[in-house]
Symmetry: D2
Subunit: 141 residues, 4 copies
Amino acid sequence: MSERTVLMTVADIEALFAATFPQTEGQLVIEAVGPMTARCRLPFANEHLRPGGTISGPSMMRLADATIYVAILAQIGPVAMAVTTNFNINFLRRPAPRDVIAECRLLKLGRRLAVGEITLFSDGDPEPVAHATSTFSIPGG
Amino acid sequence: MSERTVLMTVADIEALFAATFPQTEGQLVIEAVGPMTARCRLPFANEHLRPGGTISGPSMMRLADATIYVAILAQIGPVAMAVTTNFNINFLRRPAPRDVIAECRLLKLGRRLAVGEITLFSDGDPEPVAHATSTFSIPGG
Amino acid sequence: MSERTVLMTVADIEALFAATFPQTEGQLVIEAVGPMTARCRLPFANEHLRPGGTISGPSMMRLADATIYVAILAQIGPVAMAVTTNFNINFLRRPAPRDVIAECRLLKLGRRLAVGEITLFSDGDPEPVAHATSTFSIPGG
Amino acid sequence: MSERTVLMTVADIEALFAATFPQTEGQLVIEAVGPMTARCRLPFANEHLRPGGTISGPSMMRLADATIYVAILAQIGPVAMAVTTNFNINFLRRPAPRDVIAECRLLKLGRRLAVGEITLFSDGDPEPVAHATSTFSIPGG
């Protein structure tokens, strides 16, 4: 993925998150952004486990929500007040106790609403563990 | 709400969570369970804030997911492996920097699937801040 | 439900639909509108059946989508171009071959977005057969 | 897409629908089935229009729901009683008054649950007009 056509690079977004979401430190690695796309990683940690040794649903929801926010920021720049209005997720398979990778593709980037889909994978496994869609409202749009 | 007809009381579920989800300690107060219902509270903490001073979406998603799980456990007993298969949430208003209350009502409690709706409120405000629906798969059902 | 505080009555909305959605004739009975609410009925017809003798999912989706549109029109008046942006439905029980009743409650009526929940019943049965949530975008808002 | 590895071909499913869903005649063209995929077409007709000259939301929901059902039948054979349990759709752009094409990809085909995503296009336009996800329950699974 080229960063040529994005308004914020990975480094730009990392700096914004460090300033505004310090609590996400160590919980989110932004791997790539591109035209209408983003890829993020949730590093494995015991706090994300649930009984049975799989990654918890809320940890995956947090990752998916962050990844679409990264994709939107990359396209439109630092609009801090863009907010999630709808989030839907289907859990498909029990993820292994490993890193989780989220790949987001924006389906629409309108003046007022952005919609994207996010597919989640256990690191190293091609079968998705979860699939989400989400809508963001863009203020002043 | 009477606890007469439930299989697990608030104290039973608190004990189960302390044993199996120690990371939720201090993040979830189970306030009540009843026939097809549960009410939980997310105590306010700075870690739940996002820029703008409102409670973050993922913190509300975690609360909603826990509250329907509590409602299901109260009805069917300690089935640890019940798992979320679908979760959908609409964010309605920016929640104030206060506790968030989640009220769940189960719409269906079948042999294999349970479905419920969860309404989230800022403590003391009657207007909902978010509304979720969720489906759980019940193993061996 | 009082019609006192609504901007369009049942008769107003029936007239609007007859002019703009003639294809819904006979497929939708608007039973009541009130503050933030609406109730509609899908009259039973063989075309709504699916194998097994139950009402088809798409017929229930059409009814739910129409009912929230009725609720919004009642509150804000004839804004013909309000459009659905998100629709989510959980099917709970197989509906009997009878009329289906939809009850909508708006959870939010903002300047740009309206969100509501719709509960569907088989006529005469208190257990819901389906539950939907939906978001509408209001143009020019 | 090869039909080699599917249990029902396009012709098989057309014959099943003609026998069990005669009301869909003329409303659904099954264009292709393949491993974990299906593609269907909604032929344009005035009854699918809504004010503004665009295809109505319920017509697109019906097409999406039928397309994932076709994809499931192709993989598992004529299990007539497979039923939708959850359906979520985001409407992205106003579709032109033309045929609508739906492309389904199954994300999971389990013993009890199947989950898929469906992307809808106006015929001839590469930008999606809507995107849906849906879960089916498979009886006896």
